[in-house]
Symmetry: C3
Subunit: 216 residues, 3 copies
């Protein structure tokens, strides 16, 4: 098993664990837990594959991944009882997984001939959309969007660094390694010191009447 | 009209009726009712077709289906006034529809060369995602995910039975019939005796602070 | 720059502004604002392209559009402070944008060989789904679905007018112009006189117990 495959597998497992945390807070049954875990683990990559018209989808082409997530979901009743001990171990593999998902998404998009900005966007989507989808399935305002430790911003920065190094002629493997280090370090620092972006606030009072068009 | 086409048509009509029930509870207008009815009736099949890259989508290839759903939505003001009489008739055709959607989804995926587990998953998605999407459009926690009479579990069981029988050399039509009977009987029994899966619960008190990563 | 491209660009900008209004009301950070603005501006066209299997997606093929939306999101802190002055200017370009998105969606679908009803549906989806997606990302019941000034109905009417005129042999450009005028005039009149469709209401009291199947 290559290092990259090991990281990807870890990313899938950790994403699934986050999905279980989300679903367990809502008191879902095991089918709901599996669905949310599946959405968190595969949502970003699926959207990337659909947007780039890649076939087969990565979890159809790697069919052991859904089986792993299913096994984790079956054990979720056991897992949630040991959350206290598992939780502190999660940020590092989670950051690694986001880094890898982001950079592979960026690389696939660039290979498909998109512009650099679109490639970075598809990378960020790959790295973060799973978490957004999990929140939506649990009927929560996505935590990615409200001020909280930087997440999409780390992915965004690392993806640009990766493309920039490639553009300067640095070899693929070193550009990838640099991108991973940047995303992971930036993300762990953001969690440690609680860095966040300021909220963009509508200055009108919350109870203000909607606009004349009924849309806003 | 073949029996299968008749069941599929019934499944579309019954799914649309469920969509109307959902939308009417939110006081939507006729466009909202149509959208929700459309999403419930076609959401699962659309996701399956996108995931398997099947073209055209089944409701674009069977363009009378959207017209039927539109006609039902136009009549929804009338229909909701007779819900009391319509409601008790729904569980059987609904179970039949879910069975058929599930097994055709499984068959399409297996034909496309997926593994058995992925084929079953795509079958369950085809059979149940429409209801999830309807709940999300109505801004509700999907009832599929919380303990309630077994639904995805019935689809899951029937899809494995169908593939297992095929694998044992049973003819397509008998395998399909057996899968339908299993799903419908299991589902009706689950409704009748209120079988449900236990909730997977996070043991921490509901007001506990989110994790250190701001994500969970 | 042709008139159509100018309208399309305007539509993208105005859609992004609506997204910012939505996101700012939730106190999102700039990444959340960008995501919602992106979803409102490109959601409808993306769904249309996925449903019709068009490649590349229109914002991947026109990669300056995402850059424009990103720039608007970066300035959103500034923009929300001037909302009072911007807001009254929005209904006309918004109606123009919806008209153009709707009619191009209808035209693409008809070119792909769909029936007229499916083409109109895909047109309405293109014109209105962005707003629905923005509401869902902000965890709101989509305002498109509840009684409010007509929106999808205007798109629906204009798309049928466009296809009807084409069918009668009127030249493409005149059919398009007529469709745009109908949608814009209908939409502005609906806002001005607050036309809306009646709600379809479930006559049971709101606290009534769910149906026996746990689904409705």
């Amino acid at each position: 098993m290559t290092p990259l495959l090991f990281i990807e597998m870890t990313a899938v497992v950790v994403s699934a664990l986050y999905g279980i945390l989300l679903a367990a807070r809502k008191g879902m049954d095991v089918m709901g837990v599996f669905t949310v875990a599946f959405a968190v683990a595969f949502g970003g990559g699926t959207l990337r594959d659909l947007f780039l018209d890649r076939n087969p989808l990565f979890w159809i082409g790697n069919p052991h991944y859904p089986v792993i997530v299913f096994a984790i979901a079956l054990l979720s009743g056991l897992i949630v009882r040991h959350l206290g001990r598992i939780r502190p171990l999660l940020p590092l593999p989670d950051a690694l997984g986001m880094a890898l998902f982001t950079l592979t998404g960026t690389a696939y998009a660039a290979d498909a001939g998109t512009t650099a900005f679109v490639a970075v966007m598809l990378g960020v989507i790959t790295g973060t959309f799973g978490g957004v989808l999990g929140d939506l399935l649990c009927n929560e305002l996505p935590s990615l969007f409200v001020p909280s430790p930087l997440n999409a911003t780390c992915a965004f920065t690392g993806a640009w660094a990766y493309l920039g190094l490639l553009h300067l002629g640095v070899a693929e493997r070193y550009s990838l390694a640099a991108g991973i280090v940047i995303i992971v370090a930036f993300r762990l620092a953001a969690i440690r010191w609680n860095w966040s972006l300021p909220a963009v606030r509508d200055p009108r009072p919350p109870g203000a009447s909607p606009g004349p068009d009924g849309k806003s």
